[in-house]
Symmetry: C2
Subunit: 346 residues, 2 copies
DNA sequence: ATCATTAAAGTTAACGTTAACTTTAATAAT
DNA sequence: ATTATTAAAGTTAACGTTAACTTTAATGAT
């Protein structure tokens, strides 16, 4: 246990006060250039490493930002995570990563715990079902930005993709290329993306004068296996009609495509399958699938930027008007436009 | 800025000392049951949240563990990350995630910074080229576990898959099913997995009396695009011979498969393509590919367990023999066995 | 009744750093 | 020559918590 070098050690060795060392480190004008150089070089020589915990205890502001997603192995979130990590690293923040597994209870417990490490802010793709976790953030005045999903429009700060438009674009494309029978494999109800993509789906139908058929929409389709099963169900239901499928995600789309291919159907010739997300990996080696492209890395990167910005603004406001309580809502609403990403071999 | 409730506030409200509150929280026997109940309920009522930074400043031991991989969007690492996060969460640790992008310089800078947050330990899949980062960990006596790759056998603690065996199994399978012309698309040289998988490849060849042909091995094949290009090169090189390809990863394998399919070759009938990693996602919807299965979640989970264990052991030893410097090497070498994961439609 | 024991507190100091203030000595202004 | 100014330090206290030690008062043994 070789004791860590502290500012005190350096101060004693040079016969100056600890504050002088601190000032030299933080480029305080009090210190003469000669001193600064002397101190800096000794710090380097002795391999001084600042104690972040002590520093934070005084300033009460950390460089920890936690990122909560439902599942980091989902390639969609993996990209979002990378965007977040890239921007936060660049700004000197550390990314604490957590999976909530779409469970609002786990989310709540997690956030409760996070409060004790003086978290600087939270980036979260909230689980559906309950906003207990988010409420906790609000109550404790922790800056947060919702990524990809929102709780209530016009409340909170969020960075989203335009999900309604994504649903609309996908459905429109399928109607125009493959006719009126467009099935929709949707995600969990109670999540904004699920609702909005469905709204887009309905808008496209209406615009083309096609009646909305409830039996064409399957919900709770979340992964490849679900997509596979849903394709089976829908294939039976369609009974020979030429149809197409819009899936909530590319992940689901690959599952659906697998089932159809194994049953001798060609994609997209016999059944067109479209995903939403535009996971490059999938379009790359499953060229039959089309998708609606969402800027995943950018969603992560932008939301990190927004959060850092909010944190900085609050810090400034605090200095300027020490008596004015910071408004917990900063009203930053960024919405990315989805784009059609047609399959190369359609 | 509603000031955070501290132990001091609670103490004043009850007219007791701060230490009494601390003792009540930490279940110290000094406190009478009645007091404890009184304090606990007030803490709950006022929604007291402990200040982790202050706590840590005294005890000099944090609950932060950083996990460094090359790229969190790689589905292989995504699974490893999930294993790590699951185990660390369960043990009360926070996972700080970083990508080194296979750049040893970035890795070094990262680790240097990490030292200042009193990191409890590091889980790392080290970049090749330089072990400056690892050296820094050694010098500062930070517990660390290498995941998936090692620097020097018998040095460091690591949790690996048996890469030599993975290479051997894959090659053997391909030789026996598809003949002597087995190409190998390998990763970056200078990384243990690259070396070991090649050794396995060579052992399988030797065992079957097949000469090693250097031109069959392509290096620096790291992603889908590389795999695609490598397939083009190799296809030309083979000039009509029936051959098969062992790829460093499933990721690469999908790229190779794509090229071959687009050129009218059936997989695995015309050219067998095999990956290593056993990424479920790929085998699921690209049923033509075989793979060598490596337990990714388990690699992450196990290495997290090992690290937590090392940290606990050191803490205990410190208490027992305060004068004895803890040995930086604990010699934990765990090696998982890979298994053949044959394609469903072979 | 006296002294040892113990349960249940309280006091003090420390972890490493920095903000706010004070001191010192040199320089400049009159 | 005296005072004001300033550059370059130093001093003190505080962030919130806990470890180590001390006090207090009640209980028990003799």
């Amino acid at each position: 246990m070789p004791k860590r070098i502290t500012m005190k050690d350096i101060a004693q060795e040079l016969g100056v006060s600890v504050t002088t060392i601190s000032k030299a480190i933080n480029n305080h004008p009090d210190i003469s250039p000669a001193r600064r150089r002397q101190i800096q070089s000794l710090l380097a020589e002795r391999n001084y490493i600042p104690n972040y915990m002590a520093k934070n205890l005084r300033s009460a502001r950390t460089k920890f930002i936690s990122l909560i997603v439902s599942d980091n192995t989902n390639p969609y979130f993996a990209k979002v995570i990378k965007g977040v990590e890239t921007v936060l690293s660049r700004n000197g923040y550390y990314t604490l990563i957590f999976n909530n597994n779409e469970d609002p209870e786990k989310e709540f417990t997690l956030i409760r715990e996070l409060l004790s490490i003086n978290i600087a802010g939270v980036l979260i793709c909230p689980a559906g079902g309950s906003d207990k976790g988010i409420s906790l953030l609000r109550e404790n005045n922790i800056p947060y930005v919702l990524i990809t999903r929102y709780i209530e429009r016009d409340c909170d700060n969020y960075v989203l993709a335009d999900d309604e438009k994504a649903g609309y674009l996908g459905t429109k494309h399928l109607i125009e290329k493959h006719g009126e029978h467009v099935a929709f494999f949707n995600h969990l109800p109670g999540i904004s993306t699920t609702r909005d993509r469905l709204l887009g789906y309905q808008r496209a139908l209406k615009e083309h004068g096609i009646p909305f058929r409830e039996e064409y929409v399957l919900s709770n389709i979340c992964n490849q296996e679900d997509g596979c099963n849903a394709a089976r169900t829908m294939y039976g239901l369609m009974g020979g009609k030429h149809f197409s499928i819009l899936c909530y995600s590319d992940f689901v789309a690959t599952g659906a495509a697998l089932y159809l291919q194994e049953n001798g159907l060609a994609i997209p010739k016999d059944v067109a399958v479209m995903g939403i997300d535009g996971v490059e990996m999938f379009s790359y080696f499953y060229p039959g699938l089309s998708s609606i492209h969402l800027p995943k890395f950018e969603l992560g990167a932008k939301s990190a930027e927004v959060l850092v910005d909010i944190i900085n603004r609050r810090a400034q406001e605090e200095e300027e008007y020490p008596e004015l309580p910071a408004d917990p809502l900063e009203d930053v609403h960024i919405i990315f436009e989805p784009t059609l990403q047609e399959s190369g071999t359609t």
